[in-house]
Symmetry: C2
Subunit: 213 residues, 2 copies
């Protein structure tokens, strides 16, 4: 194996070990020692990639800025739905994403590191601005405001509802959330054509993987 490929693999291994450790102990409770051990690497190998715990946390946070890749759709608001549903499908399956979410709501971390919130809000606001121009939205809709609400409500669902004993997965909860929010955003003709059914997230993720390969 070429040394560059090995480097990429080691970095990935480290981010996954860091994610699992941050999820278990939070940012302050995590130690580089535990991350090193979990990754099965030497201290030297770790410090070659990340100079500090802070850099490891930033590495995890940066992996969560995966705002690219949702396929464009005839109805722009479907892209908003697709971004929310794809992330809901991925979150329980990818520890690095789940750790990034928890780091991003940690007050200490948010003060000193970059989080994905501004980029996510910008992405959603961009889709909503397009939707406004195409007449897909109700007259009162402010793209920035609606983007902040969709983003923050999505986050609340991801953080709170995984512990509520109702037998549903995050994709179901996010679909229901969108069913409640979208009638205040989309004009009725557009609303009737939006697909928020469970399974949408998985299909969108599969399409993204095909497009990327």
């Amino acid at each position: 194996m070429a040394s560059q490929a090995r480097g990429v693999r080691t970095r990935r291994q480290l981010l996954e070990a860091a994610a699992t450790t941050f999820l278990e102990h939070g940012y302050e409770g995590a130690s580089i020692g535990e991350i090193t051990q979990r990754a099965g690497l030497t201290r030297g190998a770790v410090y070659f990639h990340f100079a500090s715990k802070e850099e490891l946390a930033q590495g995890v946070l940066d992996e969560a800025v995966t705002t690219e890749g949702v396929r464009s759709q005839p109805i722009r608001l479907q892209e908003l739905v697709d971004a929310a549903m794809a992330l809901a499908y991925r979150l329980p399956r990818e520890p690095v994403l789940a750790a990034a979410l928890r780091l991003a709501v940690d007050k200490g971390v948010r003060g000193s590191l970059r989080t994905a919130w501004p980029e996510w809000i910008e992405l959603l606001a961009g889709i909503l601005e397009d939707a406004v121009r195409r007449g897909e939205t109700l007259p009162h809709v402010d793209p920035g405001e609606a983007a902040r609400l969709v983003m923050s409500s999505w986050t609340g669902a991801a953080l709170v509802l995984d512990g509520v004993p109702d037998g549903h997965d995050l994709e179901h909860h996010v679909g229901t959330l969108l069913d409640y929010l979208l009638p205040s955003i989309a004009v009725p003709a557009v609303l009737a054509r939006l697909d928020t059914a469970p399974g949408r997230g998985q299909r969108v993720v599969a399409e993204m993987a095909r497009d990327a390969s």
Copy 2:
């Protein structure tokens, strides 16, 4: 001062010191030593009230179960609005509430301590069930589902939007959130009479204080 009153005051002092410390360092990063020092007490005084850091965290979490006290209203859905707006007004002003919120989304804490989520969801679901019986809601509304969504979206707003640079406070964000969600919950005649304007939270909290005194 009678020793019982002193005990209550010391306990309160401790919970506030613990809240500030949990907010700064998270659950795992916080130490009883720092909490003791911040409260200006001796170790002995601390252990008289709380045997462990876990008990301190549970004490902070229990303070946040303040689901009583919203005045009853001719329209039941206004009570749902009032509970959400009053909490949005209080959260930035009460470190114990803010700490409880952060502890309650900490995966480690949620696994081993009681959080206020189930009680809050039950409170909101109870209001919604009453609203359904009175014909205030649209036909599709499921009280449990709507309660979970309002609770989780409220939490997302509290955790994400305090860091977004748009100049608005949490009460404004929660008011906007309710303006987006309620058209999917309330029948139009009820919707038109609900008050979600900023300032509502402060008035509700003032009324609760008057009723309690």
